[in-house]
């Protein structure tokens, strides 16, 4: 059943991606975009159900690589819907939909690689660590999407693109920069606290706060980059192209951490 739910969510994310693409190119973008958002909403509900069922069914959680990626996809959708609710930026889903698709597809690909965790270390500390880290990476994912759109549109404006050739359905530069600002303001503290809980959990699990694990090192790198973005935005007031690029870099490093470090390097996080 969990696989079925995952497959359905995957299909809906794929459909949403396709509809958003049609919406950008076609003549009735608003109606097509609404259908795409509905697909993502159903996908989110299915993923929520999947996570609840999985948590209830498996009290001592089998932490699979697939489970790592599914909560991340769920977080991404949650953050996107929160931003949509607050700011009404539908175009943010243009980035979120394909990213969720990639995460869910990867989750299904890695489904067979299970590794049970030691029950002792499973508890509220781990839950807080994972929740906050996923939420902050989800926030950064949305910001990275906004950053892509910002850089694209900014490039068009800097190159004096004809008004009629400018994309009609994406938010203004100011709106996209606002997403970046929100991401830096809330995402960095969440990530920092999540990381602290991670180190506490590491101490509980392996007896050491820091063990020069590749995952720990790259997490600190992400923290530094995220912190730099936070500093630039909140302290120096930097905005625009620089912070859009920073958001992309932070998210890229986070994805590298999930897909490469977890998979190919010897780390405690090789789930």
């Amino acid at each position: 059943m969990l696989v079925t739910l995952s497959l359905l969510s995957l299909f809906l994310c794929a459909l949403a991606t396709f509809l958003f693409y049609i919406g950008i190119k076609g003549k009735q973008p608003a109606s097509v975009q609404k259908k795409a958002i509905c697909c993502l909403a159903v996908s989110f509900i299915l993923l929520s159900f999947l996570l609840c069922v999985g948590a209830i069914r498996d009290m001592d959680i089998y932490v699979l690589r697939s489970w790592y990626l599914i909560p991340l996809a769920w977080s991404l959708l949650l953050i996107a819907f929160i931003i949509y609710y607050k700011l009404r930026y539908t175009t943010i889903f243009v980035f979120v939909a394909p990213l969720c698709f990639i995460l869910l597809l990867s989750a299904l690909i890695f489904l067979h690689q299970e590794k049970p965790m030691d029950n002792l270390v499973v508890g509220p500390v781990l839950v807080v660590h994972l929740s906050l880290v996923f939420a902050s990476i989800g926030i950064m994912g949305v910001a990275a999407g906004a950053g892509c759109l910002f850089l694209w549109q900014e490039n068009l404006l800097k190159n004096k693109t004809k008004l009629m050739n400018l994309p009609k359905n994406i938010p203004s530069l100011g709106a996209l920069d606002k997403v970046n600002h929100i991401a830096a303001r809330f995402g960095f503290p969440l990530y920092a606290i999540g990381l602290i809980f991670g180190f506490i959990w590491a101490y509980m699990a392996w007896g050491r706060l820091f063990s020069f694990d590749p995952k720990e090192i790259i997490s600190l790198l992400i923290l530094a980059l995220y912190g730099f973005l936070f500093y630039e935005r909140e302290v120096r007031g930097t905005n625009g192209r620089k912070t859009a690029k920073l958001a992309l870099i932070v998210f890229a490093v986070a994805m590298f951490s999930i897909f490469v470090v977890n998979t190919f390097l010897p780390t405690h996080h090789s789930f």
Binding site: K158, L163, M164, L173, N239, R241
Partner: protein
């Protein structure tokens, strides 16, 4: 008959960088017309110019001269390049030259905004009227320029009332506001600055105000003009000296001054952006020559659009206006024919006068001869004198009716000049 020359370049034939080199904005005031004054000639030009009448139209999208001159238009090009210190080959590469009927047609099309960057825009008519006013004040408008311009204004009025060529609301100011919406999230939080107090900038500022801009500052070298505009469109006037401070508190700037070189330069904008903590700025430059150095666009979070960049917006409604432009073109053609007929009649009038004078002279001579002969016969009657005079003039008039009608019809069919020569020869009007 003197030739009507029209030489110029516009947004279609020359990029803004080239138009800047040949602009004649500073020469449109009467007291600054040293080179086209038909009362003087320029010693630096090899062939002395004897310009009869002239008018200069210099706007952000075109620079044109209408000159009534018997000589070669190349003389005019030389003078133009001399006063601008520019290369004549560069001018030749992008200019156009029309004579007589073609010049009249072009002028009528310009006045009717059929040749404008934005088809149907109303500003060109006001600009043409201002240029004509200056020509009159300088004493450079004679019979032809006066008649031509008055006719151009009435053609423009006819085009606007009989076609829908000016119906759409698309304009440069509209494009500027739409672009601003691509940059800023909420126009209601933005502050705008108007640099210069030109008509185009005023229009763009009004569009911004309608778009919900929070605040409008107006900066102009002449503070009184800034105040006047502030009262008219709602805003606050500032003197030119505080430009940098005003820029630091501005999100959107529209520049439309008459300055001959860039006012907004990269070093100034770098200081401004530092003060603004690099919050984005949108700068719209609709001046000719440009007020904003193009290098300013390379700065982070600064977006500069000049007049050529904004012109693309016209393509949205161009298809609709083009249909109306065809109808408008037919009106222009009609009016050109009518004007040419009138112009031809200028040549005809002396001939008509000569025919009438000659006829009257013959009639009077023959009446005098007949009365003298009657006196020898003992007949001397005042009433007879009147009757004979009337008869003589009636005969002359009837004899001349056919050639005069022939000449009038000749001008309608565009071979008036040739036939005038034939008639003059037949009637021996030239001795």
């Amino acid at each position: 008959m003197p030739i009507i020359h029209l030489i110029g370049l516009n947004h279609r034939t020359a990029q803004v960088e080239i138009r800047e080199k040949f602009t004649l904005t500073e020469f449109t005031a009467p007291e600054t017309w040293p080179f086209l004054c038909h009362k003087r000639s320029i010693s630096s030009v090899q062939n002395k110019l004897a310009v009869k009448e002239s008018l200069i139209l210099s706007t952000c999208n075109r620079v044109e001269m209408i000159v009534v001159y018997d000589g070669d238009y190349e003389d005019l090009l030389k003078v133009w390049c001399e006063v601008r210190g520019a290369d004549i080959n560069e001018l030749r590469a992008c200019m156009y030259h029309y004579e007589d009927e073609d010049a009249i047609r072009h002028l009528f099309r310009v006045a009717s905004s059929l040749d404008s960057l934005v088809l149907g825009e109303p500003q060109i008519l006001g600009q043409l009227k201002a240029a004509y006013r200056l020509s009159v004040q300088a004493g450079h408008a004679g019979l032809l320029i006066n008649r031509l311009l008055h006719k151009a204004f009435s053609v423009a009025k006819r085009v606007r009332s009989e076609t829908a060529v000016a119906s759409s609301a698309v304009s440069i100011s509209y494009a500027a506001v739409e672009l601003a919406k691509r940059i800023f999230d909420n126009m209601g939080e933005n502050k705008a600055l108007l640099l210069g107090a030109g008509e185009m900038a005023e229009l763009a500022a009004m569009h911004l105000m309608n778009g919900g801009i929070k605040e409008l500052k107006i900066v102009n070298r002449t503070f009184a003009r800034a105040e006047e505009l502030a009262r008219k469109i709602g805003g606050e006037a500032f003197s030119f000296e505080v430009l940098e401070e005003c820029l630091a508190d501005t999100d959107i700037m529209i520049s439309s001054t008459g300055a001959m070189e860039a006012i907004i330069r990269p070093d100034l904008m770098q200081r401004v952006m530092q003060k603004r903590k690099k919050r984005p700025m949108f700068l719209i430059d609709i001046a000719m020559p440009r007020d904003i150095d193009p290098a300013v666009n390379n700065l982070d979070n600064v977006y500069v659009y000049d007049i050529d960049d904004l012109k693309e917006v016209v393509e949205e409604n161009l298809a609709n206006r083009k249909q109306e432009a065809t109808k408008a073109g037919q009106i222009v053609d009609e009016e050109v024919k009518a004007f040419e007929f009138w112009r031809g009649s200028l040549t005809l009038k002396p001939t008509i006068l000569d025919i009438e004078n000659k006829g009257n002279k013959i009639a009077e001579e023959e009446v005098a001869k007949t009365l003298k002969n009657l006196e020898h016969l003992g007949i001397n009657n005042a009433e007879l004198h009147d009757v004979l005079e009337k008869m003589a003039h009636a005969i002359v008039k009837k004899c001349h009716h056919a050639p005069l009608e022939f000449l009038h019809n000749s001008y309608k069919h565009h071979n008036g000049e040739q036939n005038t020569g034939i008639v003059r020869n037949i009637l021996k009007l030239d001795g």
